[in-house]
Symmetry: C2
Subunit: 380 residues, 2 copies
DNA sequence: AGACTTAGTGTCGTACTACAAGTAAGTCGA
DNA sequence: TCGACTTACTTGTAGTACGACACTAAGTCT
């Protein structure tokens, strides 16, 4: 009943993956894309259709030229499997249920009152159970966290929760009875963009997130670039504005000092002499308040400089701007683009910047994508 | 007589490449590295040995554990083929002859008095002929240039020579009778480090060059990262020091203003009130002259910041520091390391920086590697 | 209606792979 | 010194998977 991807070998697996990520595709198109003969495609897709992993759509599509026999697109049944993704912050657990294609079908948020791992697992377990009840069966659970994860199993460090070496996957798995995987939140979000988001089919793109911190993910040739240091947030303290404020590490005008939601709202608060939240700060700037405008434009310029650095060093085809604080790019768009332009070679191609919805659903969806990937690529 | 690599298919080709790049390797080691059975390796290597593409070395090596039958390493005959590499600047052509393994066996430099393409081709042609006379036969010629190259054939832009859309490969090929390939100089140098230099076997590393300009190359998963903008030298104008000088584009304290040989020597010249060359400026700084020391240390700090940006954004396993001006990293080592450290997360791993001989032979060798790659990977 | 174009199916020969059995060449211990 | 052991390499066999090719299917264009 549950068509398992795990025993799929070589080209069959490649075909299934291509259809999963790049939507309905005809055999002929698959043959061209994967450099296989048409004959191989007939032979290879038959068992996949028999097992129900792929289905032949009823509709037909004319070939590119318009003439010739129409194509019969093949597709995966996105609703055949469901996954749960959980994103943990220091104070909340954000959860979603998704299909095999990472389409969100349910979402729920609960507060984390006690950072103790056992208490958090308790909360996650209840959340997973409620999210699971919206679908027939959940295949796997992904949990993402700001910090360092090892082998999809252990949270080796999570500063926001004060954790070190917590075997979170095992604990959640025991509490829910579902296979569970843990991953760094930025890696998870970047994978989601790579497989099912703004990076689909690009092969080379970057992700920048704005929120409580500043995050950066990089995909080259379809694979995410990481290092043992990844979870540390290396670009979070890149110097951007020599006249800017100071972060808690003492870096003047670094990304954390210029671009986090807290730095912007506190900058506007100081300027206006009263406590102002992030969204209110952006509203004031958009509404023409000169003090708020100045703070927000400074941040916008810093953002433009950061994006220029990303573009100059990593040469992405696109930069995806996500995170719950990415509205900055809308309100301070002119300042951002000016700074971006002046730090780029005038002959260079314009940078393709894609703004993504920055809510926490995206982060939780990223966690679900880790579960999806592990399911379709095989346990590891 | 000339064992051609071109008709090699699939696994045979992979084996030959692995031996070429990673030195003498036994069949057993190859089987483990390439995930093939021992039987396949026997079968696949036999025709390669018969054709003389590989040879079995006389020496034997004990296996890792020390016991068991000794290995018989296989190797390519580096001297079976030779290649010529030419690096063009605005005023000189630097040439080398190399073996199939990019070992330099001859070198020569000639001035370029006339930037007209036909005059340059004339000079190159004579240089190639003299370099070719040092070896029995030259298989191919590579030419590298600061600028943009298309399809290994056409120089679409080369600002130092004032060229646009020059069919250089065809012109040199016609003049010398040898297959000729053109490539951007940084791409060529980075490929040389990747196959036969400090990046061999790493898979993920960066190259930074100091000289007339500041260059940057990036390799991820064994493949170089490029974009249509590559030849523009995008990192050449990254801001590094808000108190630094101004480059001719008006960027304050950018890489070009802080790190080029000309910027450093003119900085010291202004401080001392007389014209001083690059090496002399570094000598003065090393000898304790306070004014030179200040200029050179400012540049060292800027270099440290640049390397930190490279490390933070691209997460390389190593940064290779090349280019004819890279002695700055030796003379201003302390300033560079201090700046590098303060722009990195204190918990991050130290950055592995490898200093390479920075003379023009390296640039010309890079051009030869483009010829080698095209020969062993097949024409493209 | 027939030529043409493209999609998809079935058959066959080839090439490559793993597996297994056997040989070669060394170390180690009694 | 000899046999047990380990690892490297060779050879034979059988199965698999691919592409080439011929064919059918289903449209458009003249």
């Amino acid at each position: 009943m549950a068509p398992a991807w795990t025993p799929l070998a070589g080209p069959s697996h490649t075909i299934a993956l291509e259809v999963l990520v790049h939507g309905p595709l005809s055999r002929a198109t698959l043959a061209r894309r994967l450099d296989l003969s048409a004959g191989s495609l007939s032979r290879l897709t038959k068992p996949l259709l028999d097992r129900g992993l792929l289905v032949e759509l009823d509709e037909t599509r004319a070939p590119e030229s318009g003439i010739g026999r129409p194509e019969r697109p093949l597709d995966v049944v996105a609703e055949s499997h469901h996954f749960v993704g959980i994103k943990l912050t220091g104070s909340e657990a954000y959860g979603v249920t998704t299909t095999l294609r990472a389409e969100v079908v349910a979402a729920e948020t609960v507060p984390l009152l006690d950072p103790d791992p056992r208490a958090v697992v308790e909360v996650i377990s209840g959340l997973v159970q409620r999210l699971a009840s919206t679908v027939p069966v959940v295949t796997a659970v992904g949990v993402s966290i700001g910090g360092h994860a090892q082998d999809h199993r252990v949270v080796s460090a999570a500063p926001f929760l004060g954790w070190k070496d917590v075997a979170l996957a095992e604990m959640v798995g025991a509490a829910t009875g579902l296979p569970t995987l843990v991953e760094n939140d930025l890696i998870a979000l970047t994978e989601a963009e790579s497989w099912f988001g703004a990076g689909t089919g690009l092969g080379q793109f970057a992700v920048v997130t704005l929120g409580a911190g500043v995050g950066f993910g990089l995909v080259v040739r379809g694979h995410q670039v990481t290092s043992p240091d990844f979870g540390l947030g290396l670009v979070g303290h890149v110097p951007l504005d020599p006249t800017g404020g100071v972060c808690f590490y003492g870096h003047r005008g670094c990304a954390a000092a210029m671009l986090t939601m807290e730095s912007i709202s506190s900058g506007v608060s100081v300027a206006l002499g009263r406590r102002i939240g992030y969204d209110e700060a952006l509203d004031l700037a958009a509404g023409g308040d000169p003090a708020a405008r100045r703070v927000v434009d400074d941040s916008g310029r810093a953002l433009g400089r950061l994006l220029a650095l990303v573009a100059n060093f990593t040469m992405p085809q696109r930069i995806v701007l996500s995170g719950e604080g990415n509205r900055l790019a809308v309100v301070a768009r002119q300042a951002m683009e000016d700074a971006l332009g002046s730090d780029r070679d005038p002959q260079a191609l314009p940078v393709d910047i894609e703004l993504r919805p920055g809510d926490f659903t995206q982060w939780a969806r990223g966690a679900a994508v880790i579960a999806i990937q592990t399911y379709v690529l095989g346990r590891d």
